[in-house]
Symmetry: C2
DNA sequence: TAGATTGTTAATCGATTAACAATC
DNA sequence: TAGATTGTTAATCGATTAACAATC
């Protein structure tokens, strides 16, 4: 019995790697370091989800990768690969069940389990995020906001209390908060991140334009608008440069 | 005289490709299809920029890739490659001039030429973006906002007028606006994009969670928070899954 | 000169795409 | 059965990293 055979017999075990087989013929398997999915695939899943939910409201019950690809403007094989990471199994000729697919994506992304989060920095962007009810559909619930501005502390914004930043690192463990959102100016973002780490926060969604320094095990996700803007303005600038097609020199 | 020699003599011409040399010894050169830079490199440039500006205020005048790499937590050779796309030339042993580097990045990204933009969708996020003064440092100026909500039309938000969406496609060409920002709900984003295209807008910065369908030549940049959130919540969920390290089977 | 650092070419790594086998 | 579609393996493509030569 080889590793390959094993994987064939129990398909769901393909994510495991056979590392040893002991005397009693018991297979010792080890989960791969990363049951990994490529980052780009991960980021495309919500798009499929959004599309599928819309499809479901229209009463469509089955869907194929070629149709998804046509509607979402990408190649079918990419869709297939992406969806496979969620563990869904399709039927040749008939495709996938729309509702199963939706559930598979939601489960895979952990949208069924609510992530409670603290938000720090109640400026324009922070306020906007506090008011974003749609986050709840994606398993995110912002339970409190923090700031250092006395004029803001004590306010309720979009039904969330604004508290003093001092209290955050105490409150986080007491409320079992694992996710922090930073919407402060760049200057104080690192200090806020340090506080979050102190409070035992595991993952940081960072909207400030700085690369945070945090311990190895902390998950950081940067949402830096300026990076994005850079890309856009470069492309736009290139568009309006005189398009020198041929040029004489020397 | 070969292409290589030519590039050596006039370094700034390395972005051109020699395609022919005519009888009078005039070199005919053609700009490459894409004076391209990898997307990831492009998105990293603002980070270097931010870091360098801070460095300059501290009075540092020269910098090496290894130091940048140490401070920004990436490998020196990546820094070097990224910076090279801007056309900057360093000196072995002494590194790069900080101020030259800053200017090179700004020029490369087109931050010296202002991009005037229309914003459509004055909700929480739209309002936040309207109030983002820092955009001006990156060559972005939002000159007007649009909405369909009569309660919002006519307001001034962060010194910008909110106008009726009807007027956008007329105003855009008259004001030579080439950039549009969409901060509407997903449902109407496609309609807004169509209007923008009608108004001759060349590039769209889309914050709505939909994949827009636009003509080939329109530049679209999606800033989809849900994609990001997906990635983050997946990683966090994985963290809290029981970490099966070894497992017996059959 | 020696050593640090840039610039560049080659190797590696990972994601995408193409090709094809399996299946309903 | 024939044809459409999934699932999977192999090839391609692009970005990162390693190795090394050039230079101050």
């Amino acid at each position: 019995m080889t590793a390959v055979t094993f994987a064939e017999i129990i398909p769901s075990y393909t994510r495991y790697v056979v590392i040893d087989m002991n005397l009693s013929n018991t297979l010792i398997v080890k989960r791969r370091e990363a049951p990994s999915i490529p980052q780009p695939s991960l980021m495309r899943l919500p798009q499929y989800h959004h599309y599928l939910v819309e499809l479901e409201t229209k009463g469509v019950s089955r869907i194929s990768c070629s149709v998804i690809g046509r509607d979402l403007n990408c190649v079918p094989v990419q869709v297939r690969k992406d969806l496979q990471y969620t563990g869904i199994i399709g039927k040749p000729k008939t495709g996938y069940s729309v509702s199963e697919l939706i559930r598979a994506i939601e489960t895979f992304l952990g949208w069924n389990n609510v992530n409670e989060a603290f938000l720090v920095g109640v400026g324009n962007l922070g306020t906007a995020l506090l008011g974003h009810e749609r986050f709840s559909k994606f398993g995110l619930s912002i339970v409190a906001a923090f700031d250092t501005d006395p004029a803001k502390i004590g306010l309720w914004i979009h039904d969330k209390a604004v508290l003093s930043l001092d209290k955050m690192s105490d409150l986080a463990p007491r409320m079992s908060i694992h996710l922090g959102i930073i919407t402060t100016p760049a200057e104080v973002a690192q200090m806020v991140a340090d506080e979050m780490v102190k409070g035992g926060i595991q993952a940081i969604w960072n909207f400030a334009p700085v690369k945070l320094k945090v311990p190895e095990h902390i998950i950081v996700h940067n949402e830096d608008l300026y990076n994005s803007l850079a890309s856009l303005s470069w492309k736009l600038a290139r568009r309006f440069r005189v398009p020198i097609q041929e040029k004489e020199a020397v």
